[in-house]
């Protein structure tokens, strides 16, 4: 797997991830693990349930994972959603739902990029 190119295509910061994990093999291992990570599904569930605070926690977790893997583009959209969910009414706002659409788009792009590199 050409992991550095994968990072470039999904809008990530490969050097930053490498600085954290030191070996390219470990960066690859973790980026593949991200495909099975449950935090995006958890966010989807909480957005559907519509309770702002729970959705905030889920977004916060996904943001943390993206940041640690230096998936910068996805991290950016999740970060915006997290800030929208941080305070406000008990229910998830319309603005948050709009932002969640960007997250969905970026997430799908990210996982399909990783999959395409992983299968090579």
């Amino acid at each position: 797997m050409r992991v550095e190119e994968c990072y470039k295509d999904m809008g990530g910061n490969y050097q930053e991830a490498l600085g954290r994990l030191i070996s390219p093999a470990l960066v690859e291992k973790f980026i593949i693990k991200f495909l099975d990570d449950g935090s995006y599904e958890a966010l989807c569930r909480q957005m559907n349930a519509g309770v702002r605070e729970d959705a905030f926690k889920a977004a916060h977790t996904l943001k943390g994972v993206c940041a640690n893997l230096s998936i910068t583009k996805l991290c950016g959209s999740v970060s915006e959603l997290t800030e929208e969910l941080r305070s406000g009414d008990a229910e998830v706002s319309d603005r948050a739902r709009e932002l969640f659409e960007s997250v969905r788009k970026d997430y799908n792009m990210t996982v399909s990029t990783i999959r395409s590199y992983a299968s090579v």
Binding site: L21, L26, D37, G64, V65
Partner: protein
């Protein structure tokens, strides 16, 4: 092969846990927990093996704050340093975590160098503190060590010039014999019991250290109508610890009246006071005073001068004849010895014989006077027995 220290990672997100493990794995062993509850269980089982905790704040089941609260209530667990991992840039979160007992922070996303440096620094700091604590504490009784007692006592005296203090020290009569008869374990039990008793009787009004074997030294505030020394000793005697298993404990007391004297010297004086009543039946405590000091100085002078005096033959023997009443013949003489010191003049035997006896010089002097007796026989007194 070097031994790796163990870090407990408490984080609900599996990927984050694994990344932390990878970062730490070159230097440390890691144990992972998904939430605070699991972490506490692990800690209870391995508390002595875990050098540091890396803690996420937002977790299901038991979050980081609740975990910290439980941790800090536990005397032993609260000593383990905790680094909180946070992706919140808000100061409030950090301050809250600190209030709950966290030691440090590392930001998310993880920075390898920051994490490794902070973990290493905190573990080292904690170990140094633990080492110092060990150095400051007597292992058997948990009381202060000698050096630490000196430092703390000095602090108390200098920081509270208005308060009056006494130094009290112990001596267990024939403690070596006690160890010998009942065994060292029983001896240790006696020391622990005594240390507990002393601590209770101090009632927070002083500090106590164990200097060696059966030597306990306390610095006690004296704010009673009667002097606290009497009160202190009375309290101990009330509990019959004086005669615990037929063991007699004696106390030497020094009243701190001059804070310019070093604490070491004060303790020495309390020791001198207790030594002065060693072997004296029915006397359980003695207060150091100038008379004791003078007596000790005098004794020291005699000790210093006695060997030279023997060699110089400064001792004069007076022979008091003994007559047989039936035939009026002299059949012996009682030898009376006086020390004729060139500067101090004539010294009666009551002053120097006990010192000689203490210093094993008595037998030497006996031998020397035996020789003189032989010489006396030769100058014409004939064979008289002395």
């Amino acid at each position: 092969m070097s031994y790796k220290k163990t870090v407990l990672i408490v984080e609900d997100e599996a990927l984050n846990r694994e990344i932390l493990s990878v970062i730490l794995s070159d230097t440390y062993e890691t144990i992972e927990a998904e939430n605070g509850m699991d972490a506490l269980e692990i800690l209870r089982a391995h508390k002595n093996d875990i050098s540091l905790i890396l803690l996420d704040l937002f977790m299901p089941v038991m979050d980081g704050y609740s975990f910290l609260d439980v941790l800090m209530r536990d005397k032993e667990l609260s000593l383990i340093p905790v680094i909180v991992t946070t992706q919140e840039s808000a100061n409030r979160v950090e301050v809250d975590a600190l209030k709950h007992g966290a030691t440090e922070f590392v930001p998310k996303p993880y920075n390898r160098d920051v994490i490794l440096n902070r973990v290493a620094r905190l573990i080292k700091f904690r170990e140094t503190a633990a080492f110092i604590n060990q150095m400051n504490t007597d292992r058997l009784t948990g009381l202060m060590s000698k050096d630490y007692f000196y430092v703390k006592a000095d602090e108390m005296i200098t920081q509270n010039p208005d308060k009056e203090y006494v130094i009290v020290c112990t001596d267990i009569e024939d403690f070596n014999l006690y160890n010998d008869i009942f065994g060292y374990e029983e001896g240790d039990r006696l020391l622990v019991k005594l240390s507990k008793q002393i601590r209770e009787n101090l009632e927070g009004r002083g500090i106590c250290g164990r200097f060696q074997a059966d030597k306990f030294v306390c610095l006690v505030e004296s704010d009673y109508e009667r002097s606290s020394r009497e009160k202190f000793v009375e309290l101990l005697s009330k509990d019959q610890i004086f005669t615990f298993k037929n063991v007699r404990i004696k106390w030497g007391i020094y009243e701190v009246d001059d804070s310019d004297i070093s604490v070491e010297k004060m303790c020495d004086r309390a020791q001198l006071a207790v030594q002065s009543i060693k072997g004296i039946y029915g006397k359980y405590y003695h207060v150091y005073d100038d008379a004791l000091r003078e007596a000790l100085v005098k004794e020291k002078r005699i000790t210093d001068a006695m060997m030279g005096a023997l060699l110089d033959e400064q001792f004069v023997v007076y022979l008091q004849p003994k007559y047989n009443l039936t035939d009026n013949s002299m059949n012996g003489a009682e030898a009376l010895v006086r020390w004729k010191h060139p500067e101090w003049g004539m010294i009666p035997p009551g002053e120097f014989i006990p010192v000689f006896e203490k210093n094993a010089l008595y037998s030497i002097s006996t031998v020397m006077y035996g020789r003189r007796h032989a010489r006396l026989s030769r100058v014409g007194l004939g064979m008289v027995s002395l």
